[in-house]
Amino acid sequence: MADEHQDQIYLQPIPVRIWHWLNAFGIITLTVTSAQIRFPEYITWFGSYKSAIYLHNTAGFVVAISFSLWFFYYTFVVRTMANLYVPKVEDLKSGILRQVKFYFLTYFLGWENPHHPTPDSKFNPMQKSVYLAIMFVMMPLVSLSGILLTNVDPLRGLIVMIGGLKLLAGLHILLACCLIAFIPTHVYLATLGRTPTDHIKTMWTGWEDEEEHGEGHE
């Protein structure tokens, strides 16, 4: 085992990988089912409208539970949530700019990624900022709005307090669109490793090559 991973670091522990792929599968399911729910007269991929709704709701709960487990794991088990996800002052001052410069300029010149991932610092400053917005703002809001939308009758008072069903549904849809927009960017940036499949393999096996860290991924 030690020889096998001699030049590698264990970057993604099992709970994180399970969460990631569960999330990925759930979000893709949510995306395609939402297309039928919103445009039922054009899209009938899942047969009846009812099937699309049931599948969407189920996937939604899976993602919400998976998010809760992720939150619990990083906050209470390994306690690295703040360290991993909250940008430090240094990150905000120069880290983000440095990383943006790399992705949009020096990467094309063949320079090395200024950030080298370690288990304690998996994300570069740009990733931290993006994930902070996604994991601490968008995911909780889209999940909570989804939970409210699946329980309109019992939670109507709360929905009205928020601003009404229409506002809530609009918020849910726009947040979902933002998360959907992140998917192609996320998948693309995952191919910026030493080889296009390097980072994807890391998220499957947990191990990342220590040498030639290559470029980070978003």
Binding site: I37, S48, Y49, V160, A169, I173, C177, I183, P184
Partner: protein
Amino acid sequence: MKRNCKLNSLWFTLLIVVLFAPLSVGAMEMDDCLGCHSDVDEVGDDLFIDGDKFLTTEHADMGCVTCHESVTDEHPDDGEAVFNADCLDCHEELGGQYMATEHSENATCSDCHNPHQVHGIEAVSGPDMNQQCGQCHEATDVMDSHAEWLPQASLHIAKLPCITCHTSAENYEIVLNITQKQKKSEGLKGYRFSSYADLKEYSGEKEIHRIIDIDGDNHISLAELRTFNRNPAYSDLHLSGTMVPSKVSHDLTTLDNRFDCTFCHASGPGSMQTSFLALPIEGGSYQRMTVDEGAMLDTLYGTPNFYMTGSTRSATLNIIGLIIICCGFIMPIGHGTLRFLTRKNRQH
């Protein structure tokens, strides 16, 4: 000559009596009937008629003896049985439809419709329509049987009259009712239908429809609806939409298309093009007011708490969402192209 004059006066008096006597007797009979029958202590529960409710019905306009023609001036001392008219005498078409259903073996007209309180569909709120069904169909049974296949069963049952699906009526319309937040001081939560008295508190000296119908033309424009929705003074009032058949049918067949969610949950279904605002009137029934014709979905967009998945989707939101999603491809396409063009720089 004097004798002739006296005779003429007598004939004239008789003529007056003959011509107007039935009307005066009829009018008196209504008061006489209610004099006793609106007093529950005097006639008992079975024969009690709530005068306030009865007088707002169309049946009241016809007078008591139209249906109870055997009642004499000596009633009830004459001991004669009171004749009740058959509902089908007037409601032949609806009655015929109903008699062909299995329901007719279990319930007569009056089991569902109290003839002394009944109103046309336009004067009844959605939840009130379900009361008749609820007399036989237990709420828990209804919920359980629907929950087996219907997503958000409780929401559908709460928001729709049973007859929206369980009737062969083809066309539908949306009725908007004003609801209001219940008082916490009374230990109540959620919203309930506003009564005439409730809305009078908001309208003050004006008629209650002026809360929404600002220009008083007995028609609600979209601008008026939006003004109402945004008025902070009415923050406790909300509009609640109910889908009801536009024409009542008593053929209680459930058409196949009612099991197809896209009957309602599709953009701009034909069943949702017409809308009305139902305003409570004194006596507990409702009066409908038209909302801008052919603009149902716009109306729903102007109603903050009305959203139907698939049906009331906003075209603007669709475009914004599409733009956001497309932005997600800028990075792969733009960066990917430059990556491909500069690939030689990274071959080390």
